[in-house]
Symmetry: C2
Subunit: 292 residues, 2 copies
């Protein structure tokens, strides 16, 4: 029997879970259209939902988090201030076209560097609900999020554009000209981390990805890994200057492992959270909101 | 009577001067083809020279500096180590097809971040030869150079990719999506410098160019100036952490003024060198080398 349908709906991703009475996953879908693609369908978001999980609909309440509540999503919802916990998210669900939408969070809205997130708050709630405890959280991606939780609530976060900057440097600056594809080099990645952790002078340090290659001290098929390490090394060194422990990486696959490696180069033990944090967070918010 | 013909030949620029017996400028050309364009002419570099200063040739020795001595230039010449002064550059001129080529400099060739320059060394020599004295030099551009001179010699430098990174972020990341052209805003630029000088965590700080705009705290036609200020503010704050005074900006126009403004926001007086440093440096090297 289905108790809850949960959706993590991002700009370019769609994941959904059918959950039972204890929050256990009965079924899942992992490859639906992100909001950019879904918005372009003739039937829009409703069609995307019907296409991917049509046979689940009507059997249980539906809860959704992520960029689906942004200006380009299905319904735009206001950001909630920090500190933010599961109860506040549950109290501020937006019911729209039969779906309960979890809204996002804003950090330092009146300060010099306001910041926002939509979706990551639910993953962190999932971690906390699972007994993972407070600490520093890193959610790697095109736009990485660094977040802090204290007393079971989200208390601060910052967006770091590492992934997108890497792509722009590789594809649209002189640093990419010498790059050749290769099998992947952890050694080059570690060298990059060592370079990137140095001193914060990133705009200068990145030029070494070119000069080392010109001087035959970096192979063409290692430049991309070196540059990736340099940027992630800078991110991790800057991010951990005033970060609390323990550090938890919420992410998957090669990218999560890269971050774990970068932390280890800096002498910091970072654990990778088990998969399923978004689903766990959706369940927690729905449970407190008495949807499930 | 012509005593020397000097050329500053860069990747995308070509400037030439006809000089008299005291090094005074008798005539100048400012808009010839850079090496990328010149290499594509049917007659190559020789044709570019003939087209632009053909009627000067044969009247005096020709000396040239800049990227024209790089792998993609007319003749590739080896870099000289630091410290480097005018005498060392004069002793290492390369005569090729009747032209005396000034070679470039290498910094920290065996260290973790080797760096190179071709052309800027001649501008700094020009400054020193003119009695400008030691200190820190900033040559803004696509790839800014930060250099240090002590005892009349170039003793260190670093390349900072500010200009090219700005272009890549503006044209190829989410930061550019909200940008609208405008008349230019010094206020927005100064706000960016204040943000960029903060803490070196640039990959995170740049995201404020988006969030401030989303929150209507930065107008769409001010985003580009804010982002420019943020990057230049980071560059200047990082560059001056261990830089000696005085600071001299060798550059022209709006970009030199932007850097001067950024220094002033940081409470540092930076002077802009008078124009003609490349020509002055070419004359000095030729004079010591007994070409003129």
């Amino acid at each position: 029997m289905t108790a809850l349908i949960g959706i993590d709906w991002g700009t370019t991703s769609f994941r959904a879970w059918r959950m039972g009475a204890g929050g256990e996953v009965l079924d899942s879908v992992g490859d639906g259209p992100g909001i950019l693609a879904a918005a372009g369908l003739p039937g829009g978001f409703r069609q995307a939902l019907q296409d991917r999980i049509g046979d689940w609909l009507g059997t249980a309440p539906v809860i959704a988090s992520g960029m689906i509540t942004s200006r380009n999503g299905w319904v735009e919802t206001p950001y909630l201030p920090l500190p933010l916990d599961a109860a506040a998210l549950a109290a501020n669900l937006t019911l729209h076209e039969g779906i309960h939408f979890v809204t996002g969070a804003v950090s330092d809205p009146d300060g010099p560097a306001p910041d926002v997130m939509r979706g990551e708050e639910t993953e962190i709630i999932g971690h906390l609900a699972g007994g993972g405890g407070d600490g520093t959280f890193v959610l790697p991606g095109t736009h990485s999020k660094w977040a802090r939780a204290e007393g079971g609530a989200l208390t601060g976060f910052r967006t770091v554009m590492t992934g997108e900057v890497f792509g722009a440097l590789r594809d649209h600056t002189i640093l990419g000209r010498l790059i050749q594809p290769g099998p992947g080099s952890e050694d080059a990645f570690r060298r990059g981390v060592e370079a990137g952790r140095q001193d914060g002078a990133l705009l200068g340090r990145i030029f070494s990805a070119r000069t080392l290659a010109l001087m035959d001290r970096l192979a063409p098929d290692q430049i991309a890994d070196y540059l990736s390490g340099l940027l992630i090394g800078d991110e991790v060194a800057q991010g951990t200057r005033d970060a609390g422990v323990p550090v938890t990486i919420i992410g998957r696959g090669d990218l999560a492992l890269r971050y774990q490696t970068a932390f280890s180069v800096l002498g910091i033990a970072a654990r990778i959270a088990p998969p399923g944090m978004a689903q766990r967070g959706l369940w927690e918010i729905a449970r407190i909101g008495k949807l499930a």
